[in-house]
């Protein structure tokens, strides 16, 4: 008995060690760093909220928070709603949707860097194909600088983000929609539900699990997405598209401002933790979880 237990601990030891080394370790490091005064790369005294004070005192911080909200909340909401619409369409039976289901993953297999560069050129104010097309068709008479206009840049980034992240969401939701039992939908037809009511009252509740899961996963993906905004705008113009991820990178590796960067990282982490907690809470209350009531 005792022997078995020792063996069991021995077997999980490597995994525990790896988690401690690669997850808990760095997290602890950043957390303590955020509470440490750093001057010129030298640690000077632990146990201070100076980093957080410095961070929030900078007006850029609030701009970053606003941009991050657009990036994460706007991005997630659009990613899931567009993904749901596209997934619903893909779930239809036809030859066209069969092909599209395969093709739609294309944005997923293109590397971030390539995606970012390609969109950057397509959106370019003078030579970009998108602006040109708009001008040629007479929709605008002046060139639009999608990435240069502080009013537009954040939403332009979100559009590219959707293009990149939505396909997998659509595909996951498509699979979920296709697994909704036919007889429930038919029962609803007999009960007098029209197409919208069947979608609203039968399909959506049946895919609620997948829907919350992809919402949380998209949120985490989007929070962690760095290459796309960094390459396309680098946070500019004038911080108009600065989000947490790019801000942390800039503060640590361009300005070597590690105290502030780690404070921002801690805020970022707390945000992610609350997203995951929310997810677990929603799932706990779900009708489909066995036993609870």
């Amino acid at each position: 008995m005792r022997h078995d237990r020792l063996l069991a601990y021995a077997m999980i030891l490597p995994v525990v060690a790896a988690v401690l080394a690669f997850v808990v370790g760095p997290t602890y490091n950043v957390a303590t760093l955020s509470l440490t005064k750093v001057v010129m790369g030298m640690e000077r005294g632990f146990g201070t909220f100076d980093n957080f004070r410095a961070l929030t005192a900078d007006p850029v911080f609030w701009l970053v928070m606003k941009n991050t909200a657009i990036w994460i909340l706007g991005g997630t909401v659009l990613c899931v709603t567009v993904g749901l619409a596209v997934g619903t369409f893909l779930a239809l039976d036809s030859r066209l949707t069969g092909w599209l289901r395969a093709l739609i993953l294309l944005p997923w297999v293109i590397p971030d860097v390539v995606t970012a560069m390609a969109w950057k050129w397509m959106l370019h104010g003078q030579v970009g194909i998108i602006g040109q097309t708009l001008q040629d068709t007479g929709l605008t008479d002046r060139p639009i600088s999608f990435l240069g206009d502080p009013q537009l840049v954040m939403w332009t980034l979100v559009v590219v983000l959707i293009w990149r992240k939505m396909p997998l969401v659509a595909l996951i939701l498509c699979a979920a929609i296709r697994s909704v039992p036919d007889d429930q939908l038919e029962a609803a037809r007999m009960d007098g539900a029209n197409a919208w009511e069947r979608f609203r009252f039968v399909t959506i509740p049946n895919i609620a699990f997948s829907l919350t899961a992809v919402t949380v996963i998209s949120m985490i993906w989007i929070t962690a997405e760095f290459a796309l905004p960094w390459i396309m705008t680098g946070g500019g113009p004038a911080n108009a598209s600065q989000i947490m991820a790019t801000y942390i990178y800039q503060q640590s590796f361009e300005f070597f401002n590690w105290g502030v960067a780690s404070a921002m990282s801690v805020i970022n982490l707390l945000m992610l933790v609350s997203i995951v907690a929310l997810y677990l809470y929603i799932n706990r209350r779900s009708w489909a979880s066995e036993g609870s009531q």
């Binding site: 429930q184 038919e186 007999m190 007098g192 539900a193 509740p205 009708w287 489909a288």
Partner: protein
């Protein structure tokens, strides 16, 4: 009111026709059972009536109104599905009230109707539960409740009991029958189980390969089957069939032994298929000789498997059986219980039997 008339119903999936012209009249309040082997088109026919499938030809008439092209919700027909098809995220009460909620009936009215239906089906204590918290039989009753609440002209059931265990099936069978006697709503019930059909139906429709084979009351089908197929399908254990021919004085087995007199004169020498039910056979001193292959006492009855020539015959008797496997016995068919069928068309040769 809820009388249904089907006129020459055809249904094709692509190039494959699965219903080949079904004609059927169902009176208001009648309990009609569609029965037949798996794949014969019962569900397709039921779903066509429901409006879940569009038919390729023919007319469906409900109370003098043609409903061919109406949407399911416009037909005033309710259906109970084989797998119950309850909405898992709604309580029993919500499941039952869903159709009323969609048609914007006010809350108190929904509540009243749901309670009334729950009362009939003994579901009152379960109204706040979710489907996953119910047993199979309870789910089945909720599915019926959902149909009752709407007070439709016609109820459709598609093999509603096939997911229940044997004991519960018998119990639900009588519950459904009682419910019908109470509500007197026209009911069309699909099953592949002939016992269900025999015990529940006012009228049985035997289907085979997309055709109607015979329509009649349970006893009519039992006593005057129109074809070898119906004769073999209805009754358990199944009817025995042997190759025989008409002689001067009745039907003779292949080896020349006399089997019995047919219901109508048959030209001597004509080859026929003779059929007789296990319970219509008796052991006697003379008659068709056969060897006992198996003796199976089932309590009240004993079932014997006999071999004669190429054929294996099953007989049941309520008398005490002393014979053992290997013994030679003689069997006779009770007077008037011999069925004759054409050897080629397999249709009955009895007078009044529907022509093929």
């Amino acid at each position: 009111m809820g009388s249904v008339a089907l006129k020459d119903i055809r249904k094709s999936y692509g190039a494959v026709e699965v219903l080949h012209g079904i004609d059927l009249d169902i009176a208001d309040g009648e309990f009609t059972v569609l029965v037949g082997p798996s794949g014969c088109g019962k569900s397709t026919l039921l779903r066509s009536i429901a409006g879940l499938e569009t038919i390729s030809g023919g007319d469906i008439i409900l109370d003098d109104t043609k409903i061919n092209t109406l949407q399911p919700k416009e037909r005033d027909i309710a259906m109970v599905f084989q797998n119950y098809a309850l909405y898992p995220h709604m309580t029993v009460a919500k499941n039952m009230g869903f159709s009323l909620r969609l048609s914007k009936v006010d809350k108190d009215e929904i509540d009243r109707k749901v309670r009334a239906a729950a009362e009939i089906l003994d579901l009152t204590p379960l109204l706040d539960r979710y489907p996953r918290q119910l047993s199979g039989g309870q789910r089945q009753r909720v599915a019926m409740g959902r149909a009752i609440v709407r007070d439709p002209k016609v109820f459709l059931f598609d093999e509603p009991l096939s997911n229940l265990d044997a004991k519960l099936r018998v119990q639900m069978r009588s519950e459904i029958k009682e419910l019908h006697q109470r509500l007197k709503t026209t009911t069309i019930y699909v099953t592949h189980d002939q016992i269900e059909a025999m015990t529940m139906a006012d009228k049985i429709v035997v289907m085979r390969g997309g055709h109607v084979e015979q329509i009649g009351s349970p006893l009519e089908l039992y006593e005057n089957p129109a074809s070898v197929f119906v004769a073999g399908f209805i009754g358990s254990p199944s009817m025995n069939f042997v190759r025989a021919s008409a002689g001067a004085d009745g039907i003779e087995y292949a080896d020349g032994h006399w089997l019995g007199r047919p219901a109508a004169a048959i030209a001597p020498g004509r080859a026929v298929i003779a059929g007789f039910r296990p319970e219509d056979m008796r052991l006697a001193d003379t008659g068709l000789p056969a060897r006992v292959a198996l003796v199976e006492p089932t309590g009240a009855e004993t079932q014997l498997v006999l071999r004669t020539g190429q054929d294996s015959l099953v007989m049941t008797t309520r008398e005490r059986v002393t014979q053992k496997p290997g013994d030679l016995v003689h069997v006779v068919v009770s007077e008037g219980k011999l069925h004759c069928f054409d050897a080629d068309t397999e249709r009955s040769l009895a007078p009044g039997a529907a022509p093929a």
